[in-house]
């Protein structure tokens, strides 16, 4: 029997407490009103004036002005038939020249006010209009900033819950495939899936308070706002309105409840049969698990696909992708396998898994390697098909990511693909504890970033940052995960008995 080391228990409590404090700070720090946002923006603008970024903005602005002028010039010119093409070209060249001069000038801090007053003169009549724009912009930023702690919580919450779902799927596959190497690890996997129940309760509560709109600042799912499907309202959105048969809160919550309930029920039965097999005189509990695994895998692949539309894709209700479900699956499946490998190595290092040898680790590392590449394949297939066809209505998904999330978006490719590819390709490396642990940490961090990239651009946009709310949410759920998983590991013998493949598994050698 495994005993939960008191050090690890304390560590998990510290993580949870620090995480909770940080989550609280995140919610406190979120702006409440438009005035707060104005202050935040003014501060960042002031700081930004010294850097190159706003200057660049000015240049773009100036060039746009120039383009406007060119267009105006063209309409005037086209009235006169006499104007030759050459003159026309000259005029536009002049205009472009002047705009580039304009741009150059705006680099100069002294000349900036002049350029500004120029703009004001030109657009004096549009002032009122731009004021409205300004308010709308502030409200937009307010919602993004208010979303920040919510989105941070959501990403961490769904990430850890899906890790345990991924492990459950892996466990079911091992049963259905009658794998001979893995039964020795079944208790480790059961321990990890123990997180599913508390994880999914927290997650479901989160969905309920989001759907019921309990908190003012929670705008994670745009389509949950009743205004967007109200034809009378200024925020009316025809595209979301057309999808309201699927995207409505009642259907959303009922589906979530069914999926989570079935997954948890399956997990409960798996565990029950697995424990029963320890003392059984025949293989009846094992056979029940085999059939349950077959049922679960069929149910899982359908529910997993639907849950990816609901819980992740619907933060971008204007966008859709057909292979999204597989993509999400690959992401949390590889994370789940990585967690199995890391916890196995931890328990082995503490001397609890006598019969686990380097061949078992090697197999897990091969799965980490293979599924990492499978994830990349799906990532690339989704990205490349959309990039290639470049259809405006779907390419915006990647445009926002590449524009505002360049480092996390491409960085995760290095973490989730290039690093495991180069490290885990070597057979000898796959048997070394420190290599597998290091690759595991990188893969897990990479897939957190993956979920971050899926949720954040639609909820906080360019206001993202991995700061206190994000790290604290991650810490809280990590602490909870460690506490629940290792508590569950103490509840049953760490090596199962009576499984028909257990002897083979104990002597597994690759």
């Amino acid at each position: 029997m495994y005993t939960f080391s008191s050090k690890l228990k304390t560590f998990s409590f510290i993580l949870m407490i620090l995480g909770l404090v940080g989550i609280g700070i995140g919610f406190m720090a979120a702006p409440k009103t438009i005035e707060d946002v104005e202050k935040i923006l003014a501060n960042s603008h002031h700081e930004g004036n010294h850097s190159a970024a706003p200057a660049h903005g000015e240049v773009v602005h100036a060039i746009e002005e120039g383009k406007d002028a060119v267009e105006h010039g063209e309409t005037k010119v086209s009235d006169s038939v006499v104007t030759t093409l050459a003159a026309h070209a000259d005029a536009s060249v002049n205009n472009v020249d002047s705009s580039s001069v304009h741009a150059d000038v705006s680099h100069d801090v002294v000349a900036e006010p002049a350029a500004h007053s120029d703009n004001h003169d030109a657009h004096a009549t549009a002032d009122a209009h731009s004021h409205d724009d300004h308010t709308a912009h502030l409200e937009h930023v307010l919602h993004q900033l208010q979303n920040k702690p919510w989105a941070a919580l959501y990403v961490a919450c769904i990430f850890f819950m899906l890790i345990s779902v991924g492990v459950l799927a892996f466990y079911a596959i091992q049963y259905a495939a009658q794998a001979g190497w893995s039964p020795i690890l079944f208790r480790v996997m059961e321990g990890i899936t123990a997180y599913l129940l508390p994880g999914s309760i927290i997650f479901f509560l989160f969905l309920v308070i989001t759907g019921a709109h309990v908190f003012e600042g929670n705008h994670l799912f745009v389509w949950m706002n009743p205004d967007v499907i109200n034809p009378e309202h200024a925020d009316f959105d025809k595209l979301i309105f057309n999808k309201k048969g699927w995207l409505n809160v009642v259907r959303f919550l009922v589906t979530a409840a069914i999926f989570l309930a079935v997954w948890n029920w399956v997990r409960f039965k798996f565990r029950q049969n697995s424990i029963a097999q320890d003392t059984a005189t025949d293989n009846a509990p094992y056979k029940r698990n085999f059939k349950l695994a077959a049922f679960f895998l069929v149910f899982f692949i359908v529910s997993e696909s639907i849950m990816s539309w609901d819980w992740i894709m619907s933060v971008d209700p204007h966008w859709y992708s057909t292979l999204f479900g597989w993509y999400v699956f690959a992401s949390f499946f590889v994370s789940g396998i990585t967690v199995i490998a890391m916890i196995t190595l931890y328990l082995k290092s503490k001397g609890y898994l006598e019969h686990v040898n380097t061949s078992h680790i090697h197999d897990l590392a091969k799965f980490m390697f293979g599924i990492s590449i499978f994830w990349t394949y799906l990532w690339f297939s989704q990205f490349m098909l959309i990039w290639y066809s470049n259809i405006p209505e779907e390419v915006t998904y990647y445009v926002t990511r590449i524009e505002h999330y360049k480092l996390p978006f491409f960085g995760m490719l290095a973490l989730n693909f290039i690093f495991p590819l180069l490290i885990l390709i070597n057979t000898d490396f796959k048997r070394l504890t420190w290599i597998v642990v290091m690759a595991g940490i990188v893969i897990l961090f990479g897939h957190y970033i993956d979920f971050f990239n899926m949720i954040m651009p639609a909820t906080v946009g360019d206001q993202w940052f991995i700061g206190i709310p994000e790290i604290s949410s991650l810490m809280f759920f990590l602490g909870l995960f460690i506490f629940i998983v290792f508590s569950a590991l103490t509840k049953a013998p760490i090596e199962p008995k009576g499984n028909p493949f257990i002897e083979e598994s104990k002597h597994f050698h690759y």
Binding site: F380, F383, M384, W387, Y388, N390, I425, T427
Partner: protein, 174 residues
């Protein structure tokens, strides 16, 4: 110096494995073992060095990747950067997603084919090659261990008979 060898023939791979271990323990040098199918763990029992074919394949893959990148960079970006359907051809990275399928396939192509050719060369296999089969039964259901004779011939013969060989022959090797 005679080039006599002993051909010890077995009809079971388990017996063969034991015989190989005993022969190694008795410090007789095993020239070669002929089997009709791969015997799991035989290379370890014989003490053969692990293959480096996988390392070759990795390097060949890198060569393939380089070839694909150079090829398309030259054709699509340097030599004639046309606008084809609005795809950006200003630099390689701009248009890279479109090249990835080719980069992938050429990596696999080079890794696979060059590795196979390396295998053929290292194991000296080619069409019309004279088969080096000391006993036709080794391709069907018998296992043959070839051991060079240095020293007492009769002692060696009795040693191999005791290892469970169904037949022990002393052969002159040319």
């Amino acid at each position: 110096m005679s080039n006599k060898v002993i051909h010890a023939i077995y009809n079971d791979d388990d017996v063969l494995m034991d015989a190989v271990k005993q022969t190694r323990a008795a410090h007789h040098h095993i020239e070669e073992v002929y089997t009709p199918f791969p015997v799991h763990g035989l290379d370890k029992a014989m003490g053969l060095a692990p293959t480096r074919l996988a390392i070759c394949a990795f390097i060949y893959g890198l060569v393939g990747l380089t070839v694909a990148t150079t090829l398309m960079n030259f054709i699509m970006i340097q030599d004639w950067p046309q606008d084809i359907g609005g795809k950006p051809s200003f630099s390689y990275i701009d248009n890279m997603p479109a090249f990835v399928p080719i980069m992938f396939e050429l990596t696999v192509f080079f890794a696979a084919h060059l590795m196979v050719i390396t295998f053929y060369m290292r194991s000296k296999l080619w069409p019309f090659k004279q088969a080096e089969n000391p006993d036709v039964r080794t391709t069907d259901d018998h296992f043959l261990m070839e051991v060079g004779i240095h020293g007492n011939e009769e002692e060696l013969v009795s040693f191999f008979t005791s290892t469970g060989a169904v037949e022990v022959k002393v052969v002159d090797k040319h």
